[in-house]
């Protein structure tokens, strides 16, 4: 039975998806799990992977076309498929609407997916040798025009030229678009040097209590507390109107192999410290494992970006379009500080904020940061009572 590929539901609110690009054309060989289509929702561009290994038998939607979730967009021919089984798809273009309903039946019928082990992929000894030496997953290795993995097909990219075209991943594309958009937003940045001794002590104390603590989630909790007095930071702006939320949804910038993602911790103030740590660790891990769902990345109003572990002294973060502000955390370092004419050694860190100037003015942002500074330096125990 041929495998039908339908427009997937990539987020809770997704009803239609736009075909950005077909990664394969009719007649091409495709592996299970290999990208078949790039689909764009209102928020992200995502790869839709082939559900089976076989030949792309029919492509039923054009690039740029908007397709309802659940409609069949492609047919994958398996090696076991007979001509009879495929016959009904030969006029599939005309029957696209009918196919949409047929999918629902098919989906329920869909049996357990076949697991293709690497031994079933036609692979030359040389390809296996390179794959084992360079830790290449043979299932994902490029195949040649005959559908087999050879050393040549793996090496092709390397040997064609000293210049190499690096594939621009869909996640990078989304980030590129967002950052280009961000560049157009009038934004300003304020920098604050903040004493971090209490912060470090608290973190160490949590660790002693066997909590999976780190600086960023502690700061997230402090941030949420400060936002109580500055509800403007719970807003989104769509260019025309400011929508204030009752929730404290704070984004975390996470670097993954495929690019930067920003999962959002929702209702931060409703979580206990322990719950917050758990949620933070889970989201960052899921981001690294590429397991985030679209809804994990929605509804943030402010984001934290921490580059402290890389020794950054201070930096200017770029707003995520739609959000009100982004906080930049730099490295914690010992400094000589003058306090009441006395010289002291203090652990210091720089925290910066970039704000959308259409939503927040400089004074509001400065007051917000002053409050944040005070809380971190002097009132931290109140937050973590």
């Amino acid at each position: 039975m041929p495998e039908l590929v339908e427009m997937p539901k990539l987020g809770m609110t997704m009803e239609v998806g736009t075909i950005v690009k077909w990664c394969k054309k009719e007649g091409d060989f495709i592996n299970e799990g290999e990208p078949l289509i790039e689909v764009m929702t209102d928020k992200v561009v995502m790869d839709v992977e082939s559900p089976a290994t076989g030949i792309v038998y029919k492509v039923l939607a054009k690039e740029g076309e908007e397709i309802e979730v659940g409609k069949v967009i492609a047919v994958i021919k398996l090696t076991t498929d007979s001509k009879e089984e495929l016959a009904k798809f030969n006029t599939a273009k005309e029957r696209k609407k009918e196919l949409g309903t047929e999918v629902e039946k098919e989906v329920t019928k869909k049996t357990n997916k076949k697991n293709i082990s690497t031994t079933e992929i036609p692979t030359t000894p040389f390809a296996r040798y390179i794959a084992s030496k360079e830790r290449i997953d043979l299932e994902k290795a490029p195949r040649n025009t005959n559908g087999i993995v050879t050393g040549e097909s793996i090496n092709k990219i390397k040997i064609t030229s000293d210049k190499e075209e690096i594939p621009f991943l869909p996640m990078q594309k989304v980030m590129a678009e967002k950052m280009t958009e961000s560049g157009k937003i009038p934004q300003f940045t304020l920098y604050y040097d903040i004493g971090a001794d209490n912060l470090i002590n608290l973190n160490n104390q949590f660790k002693k209590e066997n909590l999976k603590s780190s600086i960023t989630p502690i700061l997230i909790k402090i941030l949420a507390r400060v936002m109580d007095s500055f509800p403007i930071f719970c807003s989104n702006f769509d260019g025309e109107k400011i929508i204030r939320s009752a929730h404290k949804n704070i984004g975390i910038a996470v670097q993954t192999k495929k690019g930067l993602v920003v999962p959002v911790i929702k209702d931060v103030d409703s979580l206990s410290t322990k719950e917050l740590f758990t949620k933070f660790n889970m989201l960052t891990q899921n981001a690294k494992d590429e397991k985030l769902t679209l809804s994990d990345m929605e509804e943030g109003t402010i984001t934290i970006s921490n580059l402290g572990m890389f020794g950054v002294s201070y930096f200017r973060p770029l707003l995520i379009p739609g959000q009100t502000a982004i906080i930049a955390i730099s490295t914690i370092q010992e400094k000589l500080v003058l306090i009441n004419s006395g010289i002291f050694i203090r652990k210091m860190m720089n925290i910066a904020i970039s704000c959308d100037h259409r939503v927040v003015d400089g004074v509001t942002a400065a007051q917000f940061m002053q409050s944040l500074k005070e809380t971190i330096e002097a009132k931290i125990s109140e937050v973590f009572k």
Binding site: P125, F126, A127, Y129, I148, G151
Partner: protein, 337 residues
């Protein structure tokens, strides 16, 4: 450098060795004296060396190969010419059961410095009983050496080494190569037995060839080169001892192997080369199955067009290499499976 033919090069090797060692080196065979040999290789030798050293024999390979074995046991260095290698079957017992074994059976007390020269191969319209390539029969005999020269330089150097060797050497000359011209120095030199040679460098595929197939592979390489395919060619030169180290190194570089030989494809040198490569480190470097291109498993036809079709020609090598390099072999093996 001086250019002479393959046949001339062989003549020189025999004449020079006979002049050098007039006690022990002599040649015998059918019609090699007065007639000058079926291919004219020994013309004039009777006049120079006399009937005791250029011996015309009766038409009985069994007896005169036996005479050669006896002479070798007694310390002489006989060169026995078999008019067509196909006739070697008559002398097979002397070669297989005597010449190949006596050195071992006497614990080295006897030496066997016997050279059996035999022209072989197709392409001359000589039909099924005068056109065979018999090296595959001989490959299975321990105790002998097998030499298959592909050009005049090697022919002379290898024949001298063969005459000087204390073991039985079957020296298989290709009939169509007798007229092949090539550079041969006037100075004395040897080509050692048991050393194969890279005769052309390339990166896309390795062709292992013997005898006339080296020439055809070189022609194929020219054609393929114009299409951007660079093949490396290795001339085995001797089949026993078989020197595959350059082949293994080459396959590690090109990742593809084709063995081209004129003898019947089944049970031939191709299977042996491929087995040994597959048993070596080169196995890990194969990016396509190693292939054979050999003669068809049929008696050679008398009709010249059919005869041509029976054995690998230049264009066959070209298309086989393209299949291997281009990847179409996968369609073939999938279809065959």
């Amino acid at each position: 450098m001086r250019v002479i033919t393959y046949k001339e090069a062989l003549r020189e090797a025999i004449i020079e060795k006979m002049r050098e060692d007039d006690e022990n080196v002599f040649m015998m065979g059918e019609d090699i004296g007065v007639y000058g040999g079926a291919f004219g290789l020994s013309l004039g030798m009777l006049e120079e060396f006399g009937p005791e050293r250029i011996l015309d024999t009766p038409m009985s390979e069994a007896s005169f190969v036996g005479v050669g074995v006896g002479a070798a046991i007694m310390g002489m260095r006989p060169i026995v010419e078999i008019m067509f290698s196909d006739f070697l079957t008559f002398g097979a017992d002397q070669i297989i059961n005597q010449a190949a074994k006596l050195r071992f059976m006497t614990g080295g007390q006897l030496k066997m410095p016997l050279v059996v020269r035999a022209p072989q191969g197709s392409g001359a319209g000589a039909a099924a009983q005068h056109s065979q390539n018999i090296e595959a029969w001989l490959l299975n005999i321990p105790g002998i050496k097998i030499v298959v020269p592909s050009n005049p330089y090697d022919a002379k150097g290898l024949l001298k080494s063969s005459i000087e060797d204390d073991n039985t050497v079957i020296f298989l000359e290709h009939k169509l190569l007798y007229s092949m011209k090539g550079e041969v120095p006037e100075e004395d030199y040897r080509v050692p037995l048991g050393k194969s040679k890279v005769v052309r460098s390339g990166k896309d595929a390795t062709i292992v060839a013997t005898s006339i197939m080296v020439k055809r592979s070189l022609e194929a390489a020219e054609i393929l080169g114009k299409e951007g395919i660079q093949v490396e060619i290795i001339d085995l030169r001797t089949l026993k001892p078989l020197d595959l180290s350059p082949v293994i190194e080459s396959v590690k570089k090109t990742h593809r192997l084709l063995v081209v030989y004129e003898g019947c494809i089944t049970g031939g040198i191709g299977g042996e080369v491929i087995s040994q490569v597959a048993e070596s480190e080169a196995f890990l470097y194969l990016d396509a199955p190693p292939f054979r291109l050999g003669g068809l498993d049929v008696p050679i036809a008398y009709n010249l067009n059919l005869e041509r079709k029976t054995t690998p020609q230049t264009e066959d090598i070209v298309s086989k290499v393209k299949e291997i390099v281009g990847g179409d072999w996968y369609a073939r093996i999938s279809r065959d499976a």
